[in-house]
Symmetry: C2
């Protein structure tokens, strides 16, 4: 939510294509991390642990190159890591002695960060300590991060203590003691994770844990494991590391000042614009500002102020106006009492679920592309200008034979995303 | 254009409902001027001289209470005033000795401004001078206005000279001399205007001038008449007078800081937001700024800078995304290659022209309301969920029996507003 209006319940910050890849193409945080990790360690097995809502975005951005371990509910990091560990052991048959590295998908780092991972993997395999952490050399006494106090100043050192996010003067003391930021990166052997999982959670194997996931305790891996482990060490990393969690830090990592349709006049200074709307933004005399616009809203903020966005967004949050789906995307164009107009875009070869609505009628007008519509089991070809009317209760789906753009008008009282019944598809349609 | 993105080719600043009427309802500049003039001089005949494109907006905002003199082309103020004068004489049979006051529709003034009009009308009827001007007591040495140098400091005085927009130091000299701003208000007898019109323009009567209007010289009334007239005097006005032509001056006249969906956090200072979009705007840490958003674009500007907007807007100008029409309004929702989606809203009892398109098909989905569609002469009733397909060449229109909202998908290459053929309607439909 801190990157509102671009991030929302469905669209997390790690999927926003606000960075620039080596070919000049827009790149998201997760695309960047994947590209860097694959380059530094070609052939490494990458598994993304995530919630259901993110699967479409991950597949759209990374394709089938990554394995996905889906969390059926939202718990904290300890259950999530246990689920991923049992997924690797039971589903992917990974041997217990293999090293595993757990890391967040959204730090903005240089390649040497991933080179440090190779060193951590070797340390984990060596097994002199049970757990190896990555300690980030602090660049300022931050109040936003947890700290690791190492026993000495060596490159690899035992961990003396963990510290919660401190206030400013405490942070200064930590820095004087040679403390490191805790970047949330852990390396260990797979069997260590499984052992810790079974110690605390009651389950037999991956499928069992998956089925009972919602009942698991919400507890962080730091609290459940790292802070209780004596055989723990930290590897120092002194390269670039940025947390692009606010507009202020994110815009620092942007290549240019403008993404999308925008004009900054010559009196603007240190101002960034990210515009996902199809209309132009004109900025005049803006100093140290960020302007971000999407179908969800418009932010106009002083860069420093932008860190304090969360409570305001919580108050104005509204309907999701745009979402990326496994089959393409939808954009809400217009909301009226008793009707809603949506643009549905399907990628070639993709289709919607076969479904019906109880409380609304729908009308599709094909604006672009070719496809096949199924209405109550009957197939028909559609192209530009074709209209399909689906009264409430009518089972329907559409298959895109090329890029397909459809304008959908929903009609009824109390239109809601919850009003959807899914059905199995006839395999002959596919 | 200086109030972009709210003003555009079709929607002039005088129609923007950014002010607040006495009942707390949104009010435009023209509504305010009309309300004030009618209150100060009940029963006065008000004629608006305007171009074709503005007629719908005037009728929507002022109803049938005003007379409209339409300029068939865009010339300067002298031909426009001549046309209006012959309209009054020939079409409205107004006697030549009646006083006429010519004034702009968009000054932000107090009622005493219109009380001064009554005095000007009396001076014009008296006919001691041929032309009476309103001189505004300057509040600062402005470089934006023309000046009138009076012969003395009396309330009514002969005009010694006219001065073009000066530079700052010259403006200061003018103020020291007791100069007045020229507010573009003139009073004289109707026959004086007709005499001047026939002196310079070759025409017989109103209809003749209307027919040959495009051939008339582009020349201002100041240059063609006022600056050449010896029998000319000026009446001083010292009340409030503001030119709401820029965001900077306009926001000063706004009642609150927000129009539309917006949040200003507590670190904002002297910032105004006008939001016509249906998504929220969040402003944080903005100082002395104006943020304005419409279907045409988004402006984020320092208030002082906002006066210099014109060249930037000229560069980014694009398709009109919203327009008020005599029958309601249209809003462009989505533009794709080969298709465009529009929301058409018709007021009860109104209808579109009967028309066809050569190069595009159209599909209507009725989202709300009841109406009657005519397709190639055949009438059918429509309501929510009904779909009407109109291939290229099909003659069509719709009559709204209640508020009617239609989602229109246009399909074809090179979709253009020019692609429209109008036909006469069968009177039985109406």
């Amino acid at each position: 939510m801190r990157l509102w209006p671009l991030s929302n319940e469905i669209r997390s910050k790690q999927f926003l294509k606000l960075l620039e890849g080596p070919d000049g193409e827009p790149e998201s945080m997760i695309m960047r991390v994947y590209r860097q990790a694959s380059r530094v360690a070609p052939g490494v097995r990458i598994v993304v642990a995530t919630g259901k809502k993110q699967i479409s975005a991950i597949r759209n951005q990374l394709g089938d190159r990554v394995d996905i371990c889906v969390e059926p509910d939202r718990r904290d990091t300890f259950p999530a890591i246990c689920l991923a560990a049992s997924f690797l052991a039971d589903e992917r048959k990974m041997p217990g002695e293999e090293p595993v590295i757990i890391c967040p998908v959204d730090p903005y780092v240089e390649d040497s960060y991933f080179e440090a991972f190779a060193e951590m993997a070797a340390l984990a395999a060596e097994n002199r300590a049970a757990l190896t952490l990555l300690g980030l050399e602090p660049t300022y006494p931050s109040e936003k991060y947890g700290y690791i106090i190492p026993e000495d100043g060596e490159r690899v050192s035992r961990v003396a203590a963990f510290k919660e996010k401190p206030d400013l003067s405490t942070a200064r003391q930590y820095l004087a003691q040679g403390a490191l930021w805790n970047g949330g990166v852990f390396a260990c052997r797979l069997d260590y994770l499984l052992e810790k999982a079974h110690e605390r959670l009651d389950f037999t194997d991956y499928r069992d844990l998956y089925g009972r996931y919602a009942d698991q305790e919400k507890i962080s891996f730091d609290y459940a494991v790292a802070e209780r482990e004596d055989r723990i060490q930290v590897l120092r990393y002194s390269g670039t590391w940025k947390d692009l969690g606010t507009w202020n830090t994110l815009t620092e990592a942007m290549e240019g000042h403008i993404l999308g349709k925008a004009t900054l006049n010559e009196t603007c200074e240190n101002t960034h614009v990210v515009n996902e709307l199809n209309v132009p933004i004109l900025c005049m005399g803006c100093k140290d500002m960020v302007v971000a616009a999407s179908g969800d809203g418009i932010l106009v903020s002083d860069k420093g102020q932008s860190s304090y966005i969360k409570p305001y967004v919580d108050r104005i949050r509204q309907q999701v106006m745009y979402a990326e789906k496994s089959w393409g995307s939808f954009t809400v164009l217009d909301v009226q009492e008793g009707s809603m107009t949506i643009k549905v875009e399907l990628m070639p070869g993709h289709n919607l679920y076969y479904h019906s609505h109880e409380h609304r009628d729908e009308v599709w007008t094909v604006a672009q592309g070719q496809g096949r519509v199924i209405l109550d089991g009957v197939q028909q070809k559609v192209g530009p200008g074709d209209v399909v009317s689906m009264p409430a209760g009518c089972r329907h789906t559409v298959f895109a034979d090329s890029w397909l753009k459809i304008i959908e008008v929903q009609l009824g009282e109390g239109i809601s995303v919850e009003d959807k019944v899914k059905y199995d598809m006839d395999p002959r349609w596919i």
